[in-house]
Assembly symmetry: C2
């Protein structure tokens, strides 16, 4: 088998076989196939796509390139959730304890944030004492004991995906649906859960820009999961504005805690309940999806989910002070509306970058995060606003942030017409 | 400027600017842009193409990457001809002396053959004593003295093209019309002639497989030439069967000599007269194309072209024996028809490879050619043939060539129906 023949085959619109796809990924991982052949193959895939069987084999080939986590010793059905990344996305912090309190098993390996999107690990580490460096044995014991553990990924999972992603990043081949789908799914499969719920975000603050692309990606990921015997559900959700009100690590932890007390923002609550219900239902804990929704709501109302969250934080070493003393910044700056009207849009990408510049996120992998800073919205899309009213609070420790204030203000689009609130969930693909 | 942005620009179907194209080619030649970015760019160009201005800038950028030959000290208009390569293509050996005898200046840098197509240099070197290693000064003097010189390319012309071609060869990006056009045109422009006639061959023995592709390539090359102030004509000609009867170095030299005596095959004669007439006309030697045709025919009839050919061979050191003593092989094997009928097809690729296996061509660059061997057709497409009649003669010096005999026989498609002879020239693009 010669790589150049396989490039030409894909270039000419033909379907690659299982053997050919494994030959490509093994050869590339073992440095037998050079970068320059792989990158032209990736561009050919960008243009001609892959069918779901090809994407499944690509996923399996990347899965086979490294270690996998065996969760078999955990009793019960293991559930996992993956978000394609958004601004203010603290969903995992809420639904993890929530589904664990419903008796599903959450063994979650999570990542750090880069650019305008935050990472679950960074948010958790903003809690004093909390550690995400857990040995695999302790990780499994913790899930068996309390139903939930969240750790950083240390095992050499899917090295082929890491190599491919680095190459795609510099060769204009990132936005290819089969490449994105197999990248996400290989990592999720390597993490070993039985039920995988995907949160595919769309909008300018997200990876997918259109509903059409998000649907295609979702269908393909569900198909790949089904092909390998997993239960997969994909939510397509709005990232036109940030999720909830909080952007920044401690701010988001507080919002997540409030949410589990039943005092969170309505968009976050709705999203968490819907996703959690699917996780619980797919984990065979309830007979119907409706029952799962009732169970999830009950766990919030009776505070069991909140208690599970506290148990989880404590178990991983976290010592949470009173929430009033949790966040400490030099100043809180109010960004005020310059005109009256209705909030038509909050540019998620722009405000996410503003929060990053305050120190809440990383521009490069080496940057150090300030856990206390960030942006707390005071208005969401659809809200009425008077001139002079506060649109957002900047939790700040820096000097000279005039440009960040300006960018925050400019993230808000105010219109004279009444604006209806959007439904946060656009579609659910099962 | 970042290469990844330019890859994405081309990937998304936008037009690259002059500055961007020169940035890419300079960066790649200077090894600042890595192979893996260039190959994904090439694949993006394969899919999204280039307009004629982009292709012109690509040609100029490749031209600028190395040395160029300055032919200004040669008096008169310099004419050049390029064939995209075919089986039995000895056109240069015939039309070079022919147009020189009409007083056009032929300063030709030529190449060696690889695979199933032969190279002009290999054919010339089959003449005892003839050297194609000529210093540039002698080369120019020779053109000024006798109107024609053919030499091997020693200067560092278009190094960017050489790098790109090597990369395209292993990344499935060879068959892209703007990439082919700029590769050919950059080399032709570097060689310094004023008039360039291109012979774009189509058919299974040729690079272009369809008339549509050949037309697109021809139009683009003419446009590039015009954009930079050259006179360019492209012929689209048949490579469905070999050109003439001879395939193999000395066999082709003999056929070329006979052709200049007016005793050559009709397809070769027609092609040579038409191309030569355009070269003479575009060199302003005649006022009309019709006059050019008459002049060319006259130079064949009055043997001036033949005499020019002898002068050219002698000037480059060649000592031509009597043609009867020129070719020496161990045996001449007759390949005979197994059925009666009409020759419908002679697979040019297959019979070209058979000749290569006899030793007339190179499978790899390191192979050594046997100048005496080859295949002499006895029948051409449209000819009637009786069972047992000779289809072709194999001039052979090898042992055990049963498989080559079989392949030669199988190159011929015999049918019961009468077959019309095709016109060798499909189109002329000016």
């Amino acid at each position: 088998m010669r790589m150049v023949d396989l490039i030409e085959k894909k270039r000419d619109g033909h379907v690659l076989t299982k053997e050919e796809i494994h030959f490509i990924i093994e050869g590339y991982t073992n440095k037998i196939i050079p970068d320059y052949q792989m990158s032209s193959m990736l561009m050919a895939i960008y243009f001609n796509g892959m069918n779901d069987l090809e994407a499944t084999e690509l996923t399996l080939a990347m899965l086979n390139s490294g270690e996998t986590i065996n969760l078999d010793v955990i009793e019960g059905i293991k559930v996992d959730k993956h978000s394609t990344g958004g601004v203010g996305d603290k969903t995992t912090l809420v639904l993890g304890p929530l589904v664990a309190s419903c008796n599903a098993k959450v063994a979650k390996l999570s990542g750090r944030g880069l650019g305008h999107t935050g990472g679950t690990l960074d948010k958790l580490e903003s809690i004093p004492g909390l550690s995400i460096d857990i040995e695999i044995e302790d990780f499994i014991n913790q899930v068996n004991d309390i139903g939930i553990a969240v750790a950083g990924q240390t095992a050499n999972l899917t090295p082929a995906d890491k190599l491919l992603y680095a190459l795609r990043d510099v060769t204009g081949t990132v936005p290819s649906i089969p490449l994105i789908a197999s990248s996400i799914m290989s990592k999720k499969l390597a993490s070993g859960s039985d039920v995988i719920v995907l949160d595919v975000k769309i909008g300018e603050g997200a990876f997918m820009k259109t509903l059409e692309d998000a649907k295609a990606l979702s269908h393909l990921m569900v198909k790949i999961g089904t092909n390998v015997g997993k239960k997969v559900v994909a939510f397509i959700t709005d990232m036109g504005e940030p999720l909830g009100y909080a952007i920044g690590n401690k701010l988001e932890v507080v919002e997540a805690i409030n949410s589990l007390k039943g005092e969170g923002p309505s968009d976050l609550h709705k999203l968490v309940v819907e996703i959690s219900a699917y996780m619980v239902y797919k984990a065979n804990i309830t007979k119907t999806l409706e029952e799962a929704k009732l169970l999830v709501e009950e766990k919030i109302t009776n505070k069991e989910a909140y208690e599970k969250q506290m148990e989880f934080i404590k178990r991983q070493g976290g010592v949470l002070p009173d929430l009033e003393d949790f966040i400490n910044v030099k100043e809180i700056i109010e960004v005020k509306a310059q005109e009256s009207g209705y909030v038509k849009q909050i540019h998620a990408l722009q405000i996410g970058l503003a929060a990053m510049k305050l120190g809440a996120g990383r521009a490069t992998k080496e940057d150090i995060i300030d856990p206390d800073v960030g942006i707390l919205l005071n208005k969401k899309v659809g809200d009425q606003v008077e001139k002079g009213e506060t649109l957002a609070y900047l939790y700040n420790n820096l000097e000279n942030i005039d440009s960040i204030i300006k960018e925050t203000l400019e993230s808000f689009v105010i219109t004279k017409e009444v604006v209806e609130k959007k439904n946060i969930i656009f579609d659910i693909i099962t």
